[in-house]
Amino acid sequence: MRFFNADADDQKVEVLRNIPIFHELTRNEMLEVDELLYERIYEKDEVVFQEGDAGHGVFIVVSGRLRVDPGHESLKKVLLDVSPGESVGELALFDEGPRSATVVAMERTVTVALFQAEFATLLMKNKNIGIKVLLAIARILSRRARQLLQREKHIPSL
């Protein structure tokens, strides 16, 4: 018995399947994670978050596109546009440090957000899901770090 419509489970799983962070999850695990995700819709030119804001979570693009305006020059070489399936603000899952860039919607954009508190609960409650998501985020961050290092010519590639 549910207060809210439960018929959309397949649709939810389909959306999450297209997001690399959740690739490794089983259907039931995806539904468990879906309980923790918040859908937000941003109009064209609307600010998602600003550089310097206290970060509390990661935003994953479901449809539309986001533009990243980093304050630091070197970051411009790594991430400029965020397309469906990609994410932005992953570091906020691990600390409440300031956002290093401003993110703006380039068109009407649907995102899902996973927040630090929920992510911490997930890690404690269901380590299986937690490890899979954590590994996926670690892969994304390590890929970005490699891109950054490779583009900085004076720093040798790892």
């Binding site: 018995m1 309980e35 937000r40 206290a54 509390h56 009407r108 508190a117």
Partner: protein, 367 residues
């Protein structure tokens, strides 16, 4: 990082006034507030169990249903035991029998004091403690205070049936309900409001789990102590006294009085037993204040001692016993909400972003 403005005196005043207003409302709707509070207590206590079952592959609804079923069975068991105990106690004597037992103890204590110190003899307290007065007091008390309280409890009983029902839906639908509420929050304030929810959830979970742990610790200490002293029904009396302690100050006094009256009635020739119970309550009170409370509930509320006493007095003034019970937890919740709202309202970046988003939404609608 943007410095988050800290709430000032105005926020504190608004928080206190809101708490007082809500306490007044609580008193008027106690039939709903009581089951809601008990459901919250059960929700935060049972949520880890349901989560553990979900991790083991159970569906959340099935896990919640199973846990709620066992919780209801335990509650029914406790009510049946309570009913059996009360009917047995009722057949053995009445409230006035225990008052007479208390009077007997008082008379012996006063006699001993008058015998040992002339200053007590001059006060002539023993002569004032005659049987007629006490019997009249006992009967009057039963008619004027005890019967209305029992009738009130019977009135609340149907609403208590809501407890497992509310708990079940909290266990199955709380995250969906949270999402539903968050949907109505504008994008600009979304992260801050989610943080507020997270703080509230953590504070309430710690508070309710702490309260339950505190009750178990206090109840166990009292039950063990009373059993060692030789008081019958030690477990029931210990648990009842620990539950009564949920009402700050007044609850502890009533709990202690109840046990001392039982001891004085059951052991009329051994006043030492009643004094031992009194000593036990004082010892547990000290343990409670200096060890258990800081370890459990007190750590979570972060309320200044002066403010907490002030809130208790205000709560008692506007809503009586209800106010005493709800003043601090309600203040804790309102304070978190008030501080977050104040931070949002006083943050120019968030307000500017909200304004810009509204303009963008209006433009998008136009085209």
């Amino acid at each position: 990082m943007t410095k988050i403005p800290q709430p000032g005196a105005a926020t504190l005043v608004v928080v206190i006034l809101s708490t007082v207003l809500l306490l007044l409302l609580c008193q008027k709707m106690i039939w709903l507030v009581l089951p809601l509070l008990l459901a919250l207590l059960l929700y935060y206590s049972l949520r880890p169990v349901v989560d553990a079952l979900v991790v083991r592959g159970w569906r959340r609804e099935t896990a919640a249903m199973t846990v709620c079923f066992f919780q209801t069975m335990v509650a029914v068991g406790i009510v049946v035991l309570l009913f059996l105990f009360l009917s047995k106690a009722g057949s053995q004597g009445s409230f006035s029998r225990h008052v007479a037992g208390g009077q007997n103890l008082l008379r012996k204590t006063v006699g001993a004091l008058e015998g040992s110190a002339p200053v007590f003899k001059r006060l002539n307290m023993g002569a004032r403690l005659d049987d007629q007065h006490v019997r009249e007091f006992g009967d009057d008390f039963v008619k004027k205070n005890l019967l209305p309280v029992i009738l009130q409890l019977l009135e609340w009983l149907p609403s208590l049936l809501l407890v497992p029902y509310i708990t079940y839906f909290m266990l199955t639908d709380s995250s969906r309900l949270k999402k539903y509420i968050i949907q109505s929050v504008p994008n600009a304030f979304f992260e801050r409001v989610l943080l507020l929810f997270s703080h509230l959830d953590t504070s309430l979970q710690s508070y309710f789990q702490g309260l339950l742990l505190l009750t178990v610790l206090e109840g166990s200490c009292l039950a063990m102590g009373l059993a060692l002293v030789g008081i019958p029904h030690a477990i029931f009396l210990g648990l009842a006294a620990a539950l009564l302690a949920w009402v700050p100050y007044l609850g502890s006094i009533v709990g202690c009085l109840m046990v001392v009256l039982v001891a004085a009635t059951d052991f009329p020739d051994k006043p030492g037993v009643a004094y031992a119970c009194l000593g036990l309550f004082l010892a547990v009170r000290l343990l409670d204040d200096f060890v258990f409370m800081p370890m459990t509930v007190g750590r979570q509320l972060h309320v200044h001692p002066l403010l907490s006493v002030l809130m208790l007095f205000m709560g008692a003034t506007v809503a009586g016993a209800t106010g005493l019970v709800f003043a601090l937890p309600l203040y804790g919740v309102i304070a978190v909400i008030g501080e977050t709202v104040a931070q949002i309202v006083t943050d120019p970046r968030l307000r500017a972003r909200y304004k810009a988003a509204r303009q963008l939404a209006a433009t998008a609608e136009r085209f």
